[in-house]
Symmetry: C2
Subunit: 226 residues, 2 copies
């Protein structure tokens, strides 16, 4: 986690009014911060913001609760840092792929990135529903400005480049194409509490491979120049 490490080193004193000063174990401090973020992600995603105490998170991270105050000020600060880390990693990945310097099929790579992320961390959609999409969701504005708005430009630009390269049809609307690609990729995860049950889906390697093959073919056949 280079970003988190760097930030922890560069900004070592966000302790706030009642902070308890810099912790003693200098060498491990970036690890402690990372461990707190990991524990927060696990516990918050399982049970939501209100049901988890900072004490539990510290215990799960094998850290002193004072470290939460030191690095994040309070539970809300830790929670926001956790969400930002999740979505910044995803955005960095999409940005890298959309730069399009690697491969002949950047669409396959974007699909792979989203699917890999979702199969590895299937709690992300639950978190999206609770923190971003629900009415009055508390993290919506930050999610839009820090992740969705920048990400929403990358995919249409990628589709425009694929059109210019003659690989997608000229009349493909890049915004609608982006919505289709994201819909096919994200919907089964957003709807998993229902779709997983009625279709008997298990998020294992076999399903991941079939899902990726199917979705890539559906999108490229659907959008390609004929």
């Amino acid at each position: 986690m280079p970003a988190a490490t760097k930030r922890a080193k560069a900004k070592p004193s966000p302790a706030g009014r009642r902070g308890r000063g810099r912790p003693k174990q200098e060498a491990d401090s970036a690890d402690v911060r990372a461990a707190l973020l990991d524990a927060a992600r696990r516990l918050f995603s399982e049970r939501g913001f209100h049901e988890v105490s900072t004490r539990e998170i510290a215990r799960e991270a094998q850290a002193n609760p004072a470290m939460i105050r030191y690095y994040f000020e309070d539970k809300e600060g830790l929670y926001k840092a956790m969400l930002q880390q999740v979505f910044q990693r995803l955005l960095a990945g999409v940005g890298e792929l959309a730069a399009g310097t690697r491969d002949e099929s950047p669409i396959a790579e974007v699909l792979n990135l989203y699917a890999r992320t979702l199969f590895r961390d299937p709690w992300i959609p639950r978190l999206l529903i609770r923190e971003v999409l629900s009415d009055g969701a508390p993290f919506r504005e930050e999610f839009i400005e820090q992740f969705a708005r920048p990400a929403s430009k990358l995919l249409p630009e990628l589709l425009e480049r694929e059109k210019a390269a003659g690989r997608l049809r000229d009349d493909l609307d890049p915004t609608l194409g982006t919505l289709s690609l994201m819909g096919m990729t994200l919907f089964p995860f957003l709807a998993f509490p229902v779709a997983g049950r009625v279709f008997g889906i298990r998020l294992d390697d076999d399903f991941r491979e079939r899902f990726l093959d199917h979705t890539l073919r559906m999108f490229t056949n659907g959008a390609e120049k004929t």
Copy 2:
């Protein structure tokens, strides 16, 4: 609303322990029940179950609050009746289309049905998120048994028939195909609080037509026999 009317006539005494007996205005009773359901749908979808009182719903429906007790026993009964009505209508529509007795393109009709419903009632996805998909959502089990499970058979069966008729490719997985079709159709609405803003979408007639054309072409090109 034939179903609602019929049930109100056939089962005229669900008043419960503290019910106040059959209302006086015999002739209008089915209308009153329907008006209460409509008002409940508008208010619940805007503000959620806990924020709306039965008094407000009765006022919005221009009905006596006692009528809520008479027809639905209490707020929860009204709420469940409202949700059931919404999803039963949608299921009836899909079932009719999936029976496949009308047209050469049943997939276009299914798409049209979903999109027409969502453009007319864009609060349905918000309600789905709150009542079905969120962690611990109260209506999930009923939604699965009464709507999702029966609906989940109709679309794969339809895709199988299209395969048998030679219109879709033989190796199309009907479950994955259903997930793609639903994902392309539903995702922009589920994600509307974010997607609507970052892509500047307005749910008007122009967008509906472009969305339907695009999605139908994306799916049929993506799934057709080549």
